[in-house]
Symmetry: C2
Subunit: 222 residues, 2 copies
DNA sequence: ATACATCCTGACCACTTGGTCAACAGGTGG
DNA sequence: CCACCTGTTGACCAAGTGGTCAGGATGTAT
């Protein structure tokens, strides 16, 4: 029953045209996107390839055909997120205006969490689990980045452009505050009673954080 | 091979004395402690009863004997953590000193994360995954608590005791900043190069956060 | 047509998952 | 002695896990 004519084509994806690498690209994109969601929600161990496949609308075998294995897929997602992260870590100098730099820092970090909430949560889940895959990155590149920034904050403090707060704790404060709205979205929504965080909310939060942190650190604009 | 004499006693736990409910209590404690660690690290789905049992040094069957099933164990842990949380949510009044209240708020929240890092991470993992088990709590008790506090902050602002910042975002800021050092401990350690966060560090962070947040919100002490 | 590369996927594998259960040990009270 | 309760645990089960693989479809180049 429910059987069609024998000539029914079960092979769908041909679609005549598009014979370049477009198929691969399209499928990889949808797999990566689905995997980001699933890994973010359940963590590395808790996520199943089956669940990712379903979220991507593909058979499990197909996911493994493109991604090799679960571990590789996960690492690839982490690297993609780190790349996004690095993209907004432009250099700063002691000559820059502290207020401008800090505001830009908060803004861009907030936007990153906003534009890639799943990636943000994926990252958070990885750190929560002890960062088994990101130890190297944390102890290497990121640490370096934090230290150079910290030195500049200190120099600003010496020049009386801001209070002599510990610059590393300040960076952590900004990270935690900006990340919160992506990672703990469920909590924010539950408590505020909203069913989504609007662009307006994001703008208001950004301004709130900028104001409190700049004032709190005694940052003077030139 | 490797077989001992037939009379070998495989039954260990007798221990002659302690015939009260002490056995149960001891075992439950070690199971709960182990489960908190494992759930925090891997999330609800990623944690296996087997892994919890090994961490507790007991056979899997024994864990299930005491806890019924995985879900029940998880819920019990969440409830325990909520109870700890509620314990420090004492009431405040408009007549209280804003500076005192906010500092006490930051301090106690910081201590909670410090004393129960696994519980804090367990909570974080639950929220990250969309808070499937905590929706009710968030939309109920916790929301209520936030709103009453928020109203008091607003009244303080009206009386000129602090800047008119959005009180809800302020509460989230404090939560995120204080929670960060437990939840993202791996990141903090990796970047600072420390191998543990000392009591001194906690005290310094607490003072830093208090200073920045109070100053940032223009809080006046009476 | 032939050959080649990419793509697709159901069947299958060994292993782990959460959970049940029966058998048994130890102690207590009658 | 018995009955009863608490505690213990290996054996077992159905379902799900990550991953492999053979066999086929499709399109391009020769």
């Amino acid at each position: 029953m429910t059987d069609a004519t024998e000539t029914e084509t079960l092979q769908r994806p041909s679609q005549s045209s598009e014979s370049n690498g477009a198929t691969r690209e399209r499928n990889e994109r949808s797999i990566l996107s689905a995997a980001e969601r699933v890994f973010a929600q359940y963590g590395y161990r808790g996520a199943s390839v089956q669940a990712i496949a379903e979220a991507a609308g593909l058979p499990k075998s197909n996911v493994l055909y493109y991604m090799g294995n679960k571990r590789g897929l996960y690492v690839r997602l982490l690297e993609r997120m780190m790349a996004r992260w690095n993209a907004l870590l432009d250099d700063i100098s002691v000559e820059d205006d502290p207020a401008d730099v800090l505001e830009a820092f908060i803004r861009s970090k907030m936007q990153l969490s906003r534009q890639h909430p799943e990636g943000s949560r994926l990252f958070a889940a990885e750190i929560l689990g002890g960062a088994p895959f990101l130890q190297g990155y944390l102890r290497g590149e990121l640490r370096q980045w934090v230290q150079t920034r910290a030195r500049i904050f200190e120099q600003w403090a010496e020049r009386g452009l801001m209070d002599p707060v510990d610059p590393v704790w300040l960076i952590f404060l900004i990270w935690s505050a900006t990340q919160h709205y992506a990672d703990f979205e469920a909590q924010v929504l539950g408590i505020t009673g909203k069913d989504e965080i609007s662009d307006d909310d994001v703008e208001r939060i950004t301004r709130f954080l900028t104001q409190v942190i700049l004032k709190g650190c005694g940052v003077k604009s030139r």
